[in-house]
């Protein structure tokens, strides 16, 4: 137990988790924006946008996140010289956020689409009958209800996202999984304690998200 405490004095475990939380926050924000745009594309009257939305979802939903992540640094940064920040380490953080957002946007899009499916036909018909065209109808009538119906699946995406931030280790971001690996390599005698600590950290992040979204999905559900 003594060695264990000493180990946590030596390594900045909380700091590593803070990186994961920040990754989760920013990627959640961007994937929500991107995913909503994609969802609107997929229900829009313009065929090329519908086609693009479908292609996007099919490609990114079916590719392992690891590949997207490696691609983010290797293709964007090292080949195309994309710099998202003047600060060297912040650049990798933002590239990781970008990769995470691009990947999870596909799932956000699907979650919102499942929310759209809960909106009754009459709502869209009513919107059209008062003269709203596609975008106002989608923005004012359909999406607000769709979001309320999509809280539970969106919560699942958020949980998956929080856990997937561990893959950012391959994109030169110092976060929890990388630190856990290092700690285990230096103190193999304490590996079970180390693992349980990190696992518990994620339980503490994930369970509140789950409880919150369950509560919100009940609270916000449209009574029909």
């Amino acid at each position: 137990m003594e060695g264990f405490l000493e180990l946590f004095g030596e390594y900045d475990v909380v700091g590593a988790f803070w990186v994961n939380i920040q990754l989760t926050f920013w990627a959640a924000l961007w994937s929500l924006v991107l995913g909503t745009i994609l969802a609107v594309m997929r229900i829009s009257p313009i065929a090329s946008l519908r086609w693009f939305g479908t292609a996007y979802v099919n490609i990114f939903r079916n590719t392992p996140l690891t590949i997207i992540m490696v691609f983010g640094t290797l293709a964007l940064w090292s080949q195309l010289q994309v710099n998202l920040s003047g600060d060297f380490q912040l650049n990798f953080f933002r590239l990781a956020v970008l990769s995470l957002s691009v990947y999870h946007a596909a799932f956000v899009c699907e979650a919102i689409r499942s929310g759209v499916n809960t909106v009754p036909l009459g709502q869209a018909e009513a919107a059209r009958s008062i003269g709203l065209s596609f975008l106002p109808a989608a923005w004012l009538i359909i999406l607000p209800q769709a979001f309320r119906g999509a809280v539970a699946p969106l919560g699942n995406v958020l949980i998956a996202l929080a856990k997937n931030t561990t893959v950012a280790a391959v994109a030169s971001v110092a976060e929890a999984s990388g630190l856990m690996k290092t700690m285990i390599e230096f103190r193999p005698d304490l590996m079970t304690q180390i693992f349980l600590t990190f696992a518990l950290g994620f339980v503490l992040i994930v369970i509140p998200i789950g409880l919150l979204t369950t509560w919100a999905s009940k609270k916000l559900a449209v009574a029909r």
Partner: protein, 283 residues
């Protein structure tokens, strides 16, 4: 109801198929295992499969300096090339594979250290490597780790070698971690990073692959000392014979030839102060 039963039956059948597939697999594994330990007319040699120039799986055949030394030593011990069974020994598992008798000798950029000696024995060393830098061949600014301030340095995720450089030799260096050295080299080709760091001969091997030939050079200013030994079991009686074989390989020129062959095109010369190495005494 009938459909339900079919669906469940189909799932069960699929499960059984998958199970039997993997069952068959483990069966063949154990069969080959027992054949090896029983007969003794073949030798199991552990190498890296993913390290060009040292131990590399070319698709059915193996190449690299580690492989060449291993072949020579095995030849001296009385095993022809067709009697060698090549086994992949990733860094994290080397001690364990020796302890569990899954491999007879390991030639896999295996540095001799006191911690490792608690679990396994070493013959050799057959090469003394040192941490070094790989840079673009037209780069004349970087001649050693001190020149890395303000430059970008790449190493693999979880490796401490780059961190050591930053902490002790170049505080202003930018560190990038990539999943493997192949990504580092690609990033260097793209111009995003300035140097890659790890043991000099590993860098030379990377630089001498067909795709990279002539594009990179090893700086040749090593700042650590890694003695590559032959990992063997603690109770192994082969140590003396292996040392004799390595000494013979050095004497008859095959050793130097192997290095030249495997680092060709990398603009690399090994550290002649430390190489060819003298054998450590067997425990």
């Amino acid at each position: 109801m009938r459909n339900t039963r079919y669906a469940v039956a189909a799932m069960a059948a699929a499960a059984a198929l998958t199970l039997s597939a993997c069952g068959g697999d483990s069966g063949s594994d154990s069969a080959s295992g027992s054949a090896d330990s029983g007969s003794g007319d073949s030798i199991r040699i552990g190498i890296k499969f993913d390290q060009p120039g040292l131990g590399f799986d070319e698709g059915g055949s193996y190449s690299g300096f580690d492989v060449d030394v291993a072949k020579y030593v095995a030849g001296e011990l009385g095993y022809g090339e067709d009697q060698i069974e090549w086994i992949e020994t990733p860094s994290a598992q080397r001690e364990n594979m020796l302890e569990n008798d899954q491999v007879d000798m390991i030639f896999a950029t295996y540095s001799i250290t006191d911690t490792r000696k608690e679990k396994v024995a070493f013959a050799g060393p057959y090469f003394v490597a040192g941490q070094d830098l790989l840079v673009r061949s037209d780069d004349s600014e970087i001649t050693g780790p001190e020149d890395l301030n303000g430059k970008t340095l790449c190493s693999v995720t979880g490796s401490t070698s780059a961190q050591k450089v930053k902490d002790t030799l170049a505080n202003e260096a930018n560190l990038v971690e990539q999943p493997s050295y192949a990504e580092c080299v690609t990033a260097m080709q793209g111009g995003a990073i300035d140097a890659v760091t790890t043991d000099d001969i590993i860098l030379a091997g990377l630089a001498s692959t067909d795709a990279n030939k002539g594009q990179f050079k090893v700086v040749g200013n090593t700042f650590s000392e890694e003695k590559y030994g032959v990992g063997i079991q603690k109770d192994s009686d082969k140590c003396e014979d292996i040392n004799a074989a390595i000494e013979k390989m050095i004497e008859d020129g095959a050793w130097e030839e192997a290095i030249k062959k495997n680092t060709e095109g990398a603009d690399y010369t090994f550290n002649a102060d430390l190489n060819p190495p003298t054998m450590d005494a067997c425990a």
